[in-house]
C-alpha cells in the first residue's frame, strides 16, 4: 500500500506525520519512506538513515555533431521549449530549457543529434533501523523537480508499506508525488490559511481520484472552520495533534514526535489501521 502525505500549505507538519507514521509502523510492517519533496527534503533529518547509495539524476539533452549538421533548422522548429536555435552556420543549445523529450534527435534528418545527460539533482537511498529510505534532491538553481520525483518513485517496493512525503502546494511536483497512491493524507492546521490551502489540496486529490483524509495539526490555535468544512464535505479527520510547545521543540531539534513522546505511537498505528480500512473498503466496493 502506498500512502502519500501532502498539504496545500507549507509547514503544517507533513514531515512530522510522515516520519512518525514510518517509525510507528516499522516494528509491525515492512516500511519504506520516500521523501519526494525534492526541493526541500527534510525526512532524513528525523529518520537519520545511513545513506548507502547516491545516484545522479539527469535528463537527456541534445549534443550536435557539427560535421553532420546541415543547419536545416528542423531541431529548432520542433523544440517546444526553444532550447535550440539555428542561426546561419551555428546551432546553439540551451540545456536548462530542455525537457529531454527527444524530439530533436529523433527528427533530425541528418542524424546529427545525440543525447548527453545533464545532471539536475540526485537521489540517495539507505536504511534506518528497518525503514528503507529514499529521497531526491534538486540541485541549486535547477528548476525541474518532476524528473527527480519520478526517479525517487522508481524505488517503490510494492511489497512494503510505502510512505511518500510530498512538497507543499498543488502544482506539478505535488501531483507527480501523489499520483498512483492508494491513499493521501492531507495535513493542515485550523487557521484561515490552513483551510484555504486545504480546500485547494482537496480539489487536487479529488481530481487524481485518490482517496484521502485529513490530519489536523496544532489544534487549539485558530478556529473551528476547518472542522466544519471537513464535516460538510464528508472528509474524515483521521488524527488531531494539539498545539503543544513541547511537540514544536522536539521538531526543532529533529526528534520525531513518536520518539520524544512514545505514547503517540499507538495513535499513529490507529491512524494507519483507519487508512487501511478505508482503502480496503474502497477496493471491496470496486469489486462489487
Amino acid at each position: 500500500m502506498i500512502i502519500s502525505v501532502a498539504s496545500g500549505k507549507g509547514g503544517t507538519g507533513k514531515t512530522l506525520v510522515a516520519a512518525s507514521l514510518a517509525l510507528s509502523l516499522k516494528d509491525t510492517y515492512k516500511v519504506q519512506l520516500l521523501d519526494c519533496d525534492v526541493e526541500e527534503p527534510n525526512d532524513h533529518i528525523f529518520i537519520k538513515p545511513d545513506i548507502t547509495r547516491s545516484e545522479a539524476v539527469s535528463i537527456p539533452v541534445p549534443a550536435i555533431d557539427e560535421k553532420k549538421c546541415t543547419h536545416c533548422g528542423k531541431c529548432a522548429e520542433v523544440c517546444a521549449y526553444n532550447a535550440i536555435a539555428v542561426v546561419a552556420e551555428h546551432v546553439l543549445t540551451f540545456p536548462e530549457l530542455c525537457h529531454g523529450c527527444g524530439a530533436c534527435s529523433y527528427l533530425c534528418p541528418e542524424k546529427a543529434i545525440s543525447e548527453i545527460p545533464n545532471t539536475i539533482g540526485k537521489i540517495e537511498t539507505g536504511e534506518a533501523d528497518g525503514i528503507i529510505f529514499g529521497h531526491g534532491m534538486l540541485s541549486i538553481g535547477q528548476p525541474m523537480a518532476p524528473p527527480i520525483i519520478r526517479k525517487v518513485k522508481t524505488l517503490i517496493d510494492k511489497e512494503r508499506t510505502v510512505i511518500i512525503d510530498s512538497s507543499p502546494g498543488t502544482s506539478c511536483p505535488v501531483v507527480e508525488a501523489i499520483k498512483g497512491s492508494d491513499f493521501c493524507l492531507l495535513v493542515t492546521e485550523p487557521t484561515p490559511f490552513g483551510l484555504n490551502d486545504l480546500i485547494l489540496a482537496v480539489e487536487t486529490v479529488r481530481q487524481l481520484g485518490v482517496p484521502f483524509g485529513v490530519v489536523l495539526n496544532r489544534i487549539g490555535v485558530g478556529d473551528s472552520k476547518t472542522e466544519e468544512y471537513c464535516a460538510k464535505e464528508n472528509i474524515p479527520i483521521l488524527l488531531t495533534i494539539p498545539l503543544d510547545t513541547e511537540i514544536a521543540r522536539l521538531y526543532s531539534r529533529g526528534i520525531p514526535l513518536v520518539e520524544g513522546m512514545p505514547d503517540w505511537k499507538s495513535k499513529f498505528r490507529e491512524l494507519f489501521d483507519n487508512i487501511k480500512e478505508i482503502v480496503d473498503e474502497g477496493s471491496r466496493s470496486l469489486k462489487r
Binding site: 507549507g10 526541493e39 529523433y106 523537480a145 512538497s167 502544482s171 484561515p192 490551502d197 529533529g254
Partner: protein, 286 residues
C-alpha cells in the same frame, strides 16, 4: 522602483503573515502574491477584485480518434508515459509536441490550455496582483513571472516605490522565477533543523542568481540553540540577520480575525516587524 521578495525555502515559517504586516507599514507600494500555488495573502488584505484575466499556457496533445490508426508509435516514443491506450493523460503530458510531429496519420494536434487566472485587486494597503494556478498545472514559473510583470507595470504607472512579493516555498521553478532580478530577498526561517537545512538551500539559490539576501528568524525562542547556529551560519556567509521575531499566539489570533499582526496589536511581534521594515527600507535605499 525596488522589489523585495520574501522567501522561506521551508513552508509555514510565517512568510505571508510578515508580508501582510509589511504591506501595512510600507507606503507607495504594490503587492504581488507569487505563491500562485497556494496563495494566502488575500486572506489578510481583504481585496476587491478589479480585473480578472485568464492565464493560458502550455500545450497538451490531443489525439483525433477518427484519424488514429493505433500504430502505437506515439506511445512508444513519449518520454513522459503520457499516452496509454491511444489516449493522452493531460496531467502527464509535458506539451513537447514530439507525438504530433511523428504521428504518421497526422492524428495528433497540440492545444493550448487554460492554466489558471490572475487578478488585479485593490486593498486598503495598495494594489495587489495575485493569481490562482489551475489544479495540477505546470508553468507556475510563467504565471509568477506574469504576476511580477503586472506588479511592475502598476508600480510604474502609479509611480510607486516598492514592489513587495510573497514568494512560493521551495527552491524550484516558481521560486527562481519570483527571485530573478529582484532588488532584495528576505528569507523568513525558523529555528528548526528543517528550517536551517532549507535556509541554506534557498540562500544558495539567491547567491546563484545574484540577489542580495537578508534573514529573519521567526519564532526564534522556540529553540535558542538553533537560533544561535543560524546566526553563526549567516555571519560566516555575510548574510545579515535583520530580525528575530518571538513566538506568540497573537500572529494566529490576527490571522483568524483576517488582520495583519501590526493592525491587531502592538505587541513584541509587531514591534520587531516594524524594525524589520525599517531595515529593509535602509537596505533598499543604500
Amino acid at each position: 522602483m525596488k522589489e523585495v521578495v520574501v522567501l522561506s525555502g521551508k513552508g509555514g515559517t510565517g512568510k505571508t503573515s510578515i508580508i501582510g504586516s509589511v504591506a501595512v507599514l510600507s507606503r507607495k507600494r504594490v503587492l504581488a502574491d507569487c505563491d500562485v500555488d497556494a496563495a494566502d495573502l488575500h486572506l489578510l488584505l481583504d481585496p476587491s477584485i478589479e480585473e480578472k484575466h485568464e492565464f493560458r499556457s502550455g500545450q497538451v496533445a490531443v489525439i483525433d480518434k477518427d484519424k488514429c490508426t493505433q500504430c502505437g508509435l506515439c506511445q512508444e516514443l513519449c518520454r513522459f508515459d503520457a499516452i496509454k491506450d491511444y489516449t493522452v493523460d493531460p496531467i502527464s503530458c509535458e506539451g513537447c509536441g514530439f507525438c504530433s510531429h511523428i504521428c504518421p496519420a497526422d492524428a495528433i494536434v497540440m492545444e493550448e490550455c487554460k492554466a489558471g487566472d490572475w487578478f488585479v485587486s485593490s486593498t486598503k494597503h495598495g494594489p495587489l496582483v495575485h493569481a490562482r494556478l489551475g489544479i495540477a498545472e505546470e508553468n507556475s514559473g510563467k504565471l509568477v513571472a506574469l504576476v511580477r510583470q503586472q506588479a511592475k507595470e502598476i508600480a510604474k504607472k502609479k509611480e510607486l516605490n516598492y514592489i513587495i512579493s510573497d514568494g512560493p516555498p521551495g527552491i524550484g521553478c516558481p521560486v527562481i522565477s519570483s527571485l530573478s532580478g529582484a532588488s532584495l530577498a528576505l528569507i523568513v526561517t525558523e529555528p528548526t533543523l528543517s528550517g536551517i537545512h532549507d535556509l541554506e538551500r534557498v540562500l544558495g539559490v539567491c547567491k546563484h542568481f545574484g540577489v542580495p539576501a537578508i534573514v529573519c528568524i521567526n519564532k526564534y525562542d522556540l529553540n535558542e540553540e538553533n537560533t544561535a547556529s543560524i546566526r553563526e551560519y549567516c555571519q560566516k556567509n555575510g548574510v545579515d540577520v535583520a530580525a528575530m521575531i518571538p513566538f506568540d499566539n497573537e500572529v494566529t489570533e490576527a490571522m483568524v480575525r483576517g488582520m495583519t499582526v501590526v493592525e491587531h496589536s502592538d505587541g513584541r511581534v509587531a514591534k520587531e516587524i516594524k524594525s524589520l521594515w525599517q531595515k529593509i527600507e535602509q537596505k533598499l535605499q543604500g
